[in-house]
Symmetry: D2
Subunit: 362 residues, 4 copies
C-alpha cells in the first residue's frame, strides 16, 4: 500500500541541497520515490527573482546523482520566491513509498501532466477545462474519488512568450494578452478556476472569459498556482485523504476570508487533533509537518475597516508585504515561521484571504 512521506527541510541558500542529502544518507528519504519538491526561496518572488531558477537547477542536478537525469527532470519542482518577515527558506519534499496497510485513511498524493496548452486558450475557458481534467486525473492517481477529500492542489502552468503568441496568431488565432507578465497572472487565474471546477466549487459554465483575472468572487479554496516559462502544459499535484493510502500523515485545509482570519486555520488544527489553544505547544508543533498558504493584499486596500498601504508602496511589492504579514499571522498560531506562504493568489481563496493546508502526523 502506498505511503505518502513529507519532509520539511531547512535551506541555507537557494543552492543548498545539503539537508536533503543528509536525509538521503540517513535513509529518511529514498530519492527515487520523490515526486515533488516545493521550495520557499529567498528572492523577491517577482519578475527578477533568480533564486527560483537557481534552486531548480540545483535540485535537478542534485537528484540526477541518484537517477537518470531525465527522471530527475520529471520531479515536480515548485519554487515560490519570497521569504519576507521571519519566513524560513526551506524545502518540502513529497515522497511516495510503499508500506503496510493500516487503519487509514491517510495523506494521498497524486500527480498529472496535461498536454501542451494552445496559446490561444491561455487565460480562457480552454485552460480551465484542461486544468480541470488534469486535476481529475491527479485525483485518480492519488486514489481520491470524492473531491471533498482533496485539500490542496498545486498547479504549475505555462505563460505566453512572443514566440508562442506568434505561433498562435500565425494560425489566425488571438491571444488573451500580448504581455508576458500579464499572461502569468491570467494563467494562474484560469488554472485556479480549473481547480475549482474539478473540485465542484464552481460550475464551468458559470465562468465567463471576462471573469478570469477580474471577478474575485469566483475562487477555489484549495488551489495554489504558479506560472513558469519552462513548461507548455500543466504539472498538477493533488494532496488529499484516501483510504487507499496508509502511513502516519493526514491533511486538512481552511480558507482565510481575509489576511488575519486565523480561526478557520485553528479549526483545521482542531479537526487534525490539535488542542491549539493559543499558540501550538512545542509537542504539538512537532506534529505539524507542513503548512501551505497563499496570501495577497486585498484589492480594496482595506482590512476589516482599516486602510492598508500595501498597494501604494512603490518601494516594496504588494506581494512581499502580504507574505511577511500573513506569515506572521500563521506563525503566531503555529509557533515557528518555516511556513510555505506563496503570493500571486488570483482566484485562490477570496480577495485578500487565501487557502491554508496543514499536513500533520497523527
Amino acid at each position: 500500500m502506498p505511503i505518502a512521506k513529507v519532509h520539511r527541510i531547512s535551506a541555507n541558500a537557494p543552492d543548498d541541497a545539503s539537508g536533503i542529502a543528509r536525509a538521503i544518507e540517513e535513509g529518511r528519504i529514498d530519492p527515487r520515490g520523490v515526486i515533488a519538491v516545493f521550495g520557499k526561496t529567498e528572492g523577491n518572488g517577482c519578475v527578477n527573482d533568480f533564486s527560483r531558477g537557481f534552486a531548480t537547477m540545483t535540485l535537478t542536478q542534485f537528484f540526477a546523482r541518484f537517477m537518470p537525469r531525465a527522471d530527475a527532470e520529471k520531479i515536480c519542482f515548485v519554487m515560490s520566491g519570497g521569504t519576507e518577515g521571519a519566513m524560513a527558506p526551506h524545502w518540502t519534499v513529497f515522497e511516495r513509498a510503499e508500506g503496510e496497510a493500516d487503519s487509514g485513511p491517510a495523506l494521498a498524493i497524486g500527480r498529472a501532466q496535461t498536454v501542451p496548452l494552445p496559446p490561444e486558450d491561455l487565460g480562457r475557458a480552454g485552460q480551465i477545462a484542461l486544468v480541470a481534467d488534469g486535476v481529475r486525473e491527479a485525483m485518480r492517481d492519488a486514489g481520491i474519488a470524492d473531491s471533498a477529500d482533496v485539500h490542496f492542489v498545486q498547479v504549475k502552468c505555462p505563460l505566453l512568450t512572443a514566440q508562442r503568441i506568434g505561433e498562435a496568431t500565425g494560425r489566425g488565432k488571438t491571444v488573451a494578452t500580448s504581455s508576458t507578465l500579464k499572461s502569468m497572472g491570467l494563467s494562474r487565474a484560469a488554472s485556479a478556476l480549473g481547480v475549482a471546477v474539478a473540485l465542484g466549487e464552481l460550475q464551468a459554465d458559470a465562468i465567463a472569459d471576462k471573469d478570469i483575472g477580474d471577478n474575485w468572487s469566483l475562487h477555489s479554496g484549495r488551489a495554489s498556482c504558479s506560472a513558469g516559462i519552462e513548461l507548455l502544459g500543466h504539472e498538477i499535484v493533488v494532496l488529499g485523504m484516501s483510504k487507499g493510502w496508509s502511513g502516519p500523515l493526514v491533511i486538512d485545509h481552511a480558507v482565510m476570508a481575509d489576511a488575519i482570519d486565523i480561526e478557520p486555520v485553528r479549526g483545521a488544527l482542531h479537526r487534525l487533533g490539535f488542542a491549539a489553544n493559543g499558540q501550538l505547544t512545542g509537542a504539538e508543533r512537532d506534529r505539524v509537518v507542513a503548512m501551505l498558504a497563499k496570501a495577497e493584499p486585498s484589492q480594496s486596500a482595506m482590512l476589516r475597516g482599516f486602510r492598508h498601504t500595501m498597494l501604494d508602496d512603490s518601494d516594496i511589492s504588494p506581494t512581499r508585504h502580504a507574505r511577511a504579514f500573513v506569515c506572521g499571522v500563521l506563525a503566531g498560531l503555529v509557533g515557528h515561521a518555516e511556513i510555505y506562504v506563496s503570493g500571486g493568489a488570483e482566484h485562490q481563496g477570496p480577495d485578500g484571504g487565501g487557502p491554508v493546508a496543514v499536513i500533520a502526523s497523527r
Copy 2:
C-alpha cells in the same frame, strides 16, 4: 480628578488630520487637553522617511488653530514611520481631562522634559542618568509612585550633528560616535537603559558604556525610544496605572521573548479581563483602545531554530520586514491591524523580541 483619554484615529495620509478634526468638532476631543500624539506614518521608517516630518508639520499647524502656536509645539508628537504589511496608518491621541473620581485605579499619563543633553554624554552613562531622572519626574507627574505600575515609557531623544560634535570637541570633549546615523541608535540605546534604570529593571552601575548598543542581554521591558534631530534634550511620556486617576481606561504590558512570542500578550489581555481565546471577538476588539509594540529582527538571524533572511535582504530594510511580520503576529490575536508597531528597538525588550503595551477600556 484627572482622566486619561486615548483616541485611536485612522489617517488617510501623513497630512490627514481630518479624523482628529472630526473628533474635536463632535466634542470627543478637547484639543487643549492633548499632551501627546503617537503616529504610525506610511514612510519607510528609516533615514529618508519624510512622512514623519510631514505629519509633525501637519499636526503642529492643525493644533495651532486651537491654541497659541507655542502651545501646539509643546504637544509631544512621536512619529513612527513604517506601516508594512497590513498595518494601518493612524494617530493615537493622548488627552488629559478632568472628571469625577471613581473606584480606580486607572490609566495615568505623565510627562517630563529633560535639560539639553551635552553631546559628549550621548550614548554614555550621562544620558542613562539624565533619562532615568526624566522618567522619575514623568512618573511623579503621572502620580505613579511604584515603578511596577508603569507599563510603557516613550522617549524622544536627541542625536548628534556635525555642529553639536564640533561644539563638544571645541570644549575638549570626545563623543561616542562621529556618525549621525549611529548616534541615533546609541541615543535610543542609552535612553532605553535609562528607562530600565528608572523602573528598577537594571542597576545603573551594572551598565558599562561599552554595553550601550552592544550587550542586548540588558534591556527594558517597557521602553520605546525614538531619536529626532529637532530636540536637544528628551521628551518623555509615561503610561501606567494610578489611583490618582479615574476613568474607564486601563493599561498592562507584556514582553515578547521573540518575534512570535504571543502568549505573554495574551496573558496581558487576560489580566485586562479579555477572554482572548484565540482571536479577540468583535465585542472584545472594540475594548482594545491601543496596542503599542516594538519589533526588530533577532541578530542571530534565527527564530526558534529556523533561519530568517531579514538581515541579509539588501532590497528591504530589516526593520521593515520585522514590522510587517510582528504586526501580523499581533493582528492575528487582536483581530485588526491598526496597531502601533515601531522598529529600532535597541535594549527595548530582548534581542528579536520586544515590549507590547495594551490600553483597554474596562
Copy 3:
C-alpha cells in the same frame, strides 16, 4: 519691460526653504514676483512619495510670510520626486521682474490656468483640446506668437478620484479608466498631446482616443507633464524666447531620441553659445542656469541593440532607474548633477528618449 529671472537653489531636505529665504534677504529674489517653483525632491517619485506634498506645504507656508496666503497658493509649485544617482535636490524659482529694454529677444515666461476638466474628458480628445487652448493662452501671456519660440511647457494636470468618477457617471458619462493610478498616466499623456497640438507638432484630428497612452510615435518634444490630486483644471507654464522680454537669460531645447542621445543636447548648448567640447568647463558651467529633462525606460527593453533590465526589476521602479541613468548622461556633459530630470514621460519625447531644455545666461 518684463525680465525673466531664474534661480537654481540647492535644498537640504523637502522642507528646506532656507536657500530661497537667503536669496530674498539678500535681494536676489523678490518673492512677490515669483510665479513658479519647480522642485526636485528626494522621494521615490512614485505613488507614495510624500516628499512632494511636504515640499509644497513648506513652500506655500514660506511664501505666505511675504504675501496673502491666497497669493502664495497661486504660485505654481511643480514638485518632481526622485533624485536618484547623484542628482541634487533643488528648487528652480521662476520670477517675473521689470527692467530696462535691451536688444532681446530673451527668456519669456507665460502662465495659464484652464477651467476644470470634466472627468469624462480626462485622457481623451477633450483634454487635448483644453490643454492646447491653455498652452496658447500661456504663450499669449508670455508674449510669444510663434510656437517655434517655445522651448518648454510644464503642465500640471488633474487625475480621477472615486468621487470625480461618480460625479461623471451620475450624469450618464463614462470615464477613460476607473483606476486612479492609470488616470494619472492618461492625464499626463493627453496633456502632452495637447502641448504637441498647440505647438503644431501634431494635428488634433490625427490623434484618436485610443492613441492616448498607447501610440508612442506621437509625442511632443517640449512637453513636461505631471498629475496632481489637488487641482481640477490645468496649470500651465510656458518657457520660450520673446522680443517682448529683456534680461540676460536665454533658452533652447533638444530632443533625445534615446536615453544616451547626448549630441542633440550638445547641439542646443552650441546654439546657446557654449563651446561644449566634451564636458562644460567651469566657466561655461556657471552660465547654465537650469537644465530640465524628462526620462523613461524604453518599452522595448532595449537601448541601441542591448538589453536593459529596468522594466523587469521588481525591487526598483523603472522610473527611478531611468532618472539615475539619464541624470548621469546629462551630468557628464554639464559637469554637475543639479539637474531637473523628471520621470513619467508619456508622449513627452519619443519612447525611451525625452525633451531637454537649457536655460542659460548670455
Copy 4:
C-alpha cells in the same frame, strides 16, 4: 606568440550562456583557451544577490561540456551583480590563443593564484603583501615587466566565515572583524592596496593596518576587487600591454576623480586612437571591445558642491544608485550601455571616483 582575445557577449539572463555557445560553434571562441569570464549579472549586487552564484554555476557547467570539470572550475569567473539604469547584462570572455607575431605591443593577460590567506591576515598587512606578490606573479605570467604597462587588475579575494574565524582564534590569533559582511569590504580594501603596492602606486610601509578600509586617500587607479565565499586564497587577473603578445587588441586606463569626471576617460580614448569628439561615432564604437569601471558614492555626500542623496536612501542601496549613474556618464561618452560598472570600490580609485579601463581593437 600569445594573442589575447576578448569577447563581449550579451546575456539574456544569469543562466544564459547561449551567446558564448554560439561563439564557440562559429569558431570565434576556443573554449579551452578561456582563462576568465567577467560577468555583469542582473541582481542587486549586494548580500542577497543570487544572480552571481547562478551565473557561476551555469558557466561552470557550460564549460565542463568542453573540458574536464576540474579544468572548467579553474576558469576565473568574476560575477559582478547589478545592472542598474540601462546597463546591459553581459559576459566578457578573456581567451588566450596563439598566433603570428606582429609589430606589437598588444593586450596581454596574466593570471595568478595565491596560497590560502590565514584568516588573521585578512584586512591587514599580511593580505596586502600576499596580494602584491600575486599581482607580480600575474605580471610575469603576462610577460609585463614594467608596472606602468598594467592597466587593470582584477582580484577575487576571500572573506571570513564563522568557521574560519574559529580556526584562527583556536590558534590564539585575532581577526580584523567578526562580521562576515565587514570582512568582505576589508578584504577588497586590503586587496586593492596590495595591487597599489605591486604597481608602485603606494609603498607598503606607508600603509598602516588602521588605514585599511578607512583612509580613502590611499588608493590604486587600476585595481578592481570582489570578495567571494568560495575561495581561500586570491585569484588575480592582470590586463596590460606587452611586446610579448600580438594581435589587434590594446588597453589603456583612466582614473575618474569623481562620478562625472569623464575627461580622463576621453583622454584614454584619445590615446587609443579615438577622435572621441563628443560621443563615439558608430564606427568608433565598434572598436571599443570592453569598458571596465568601478563606481561608488562619495562619502562626503557631495558631488562638486552639490548634495547627493545616495547614502541616505533606505530603499535603494548606495551602490545601486552609483552604478546606474556612472554607467549613464560613461554610456554618454561611449554610445551604448553594455559596460562593466562594478560597485564596492574601497581604495579602488579615489573616494567617489574610480578606475576605468578600455580595451579596444586597433
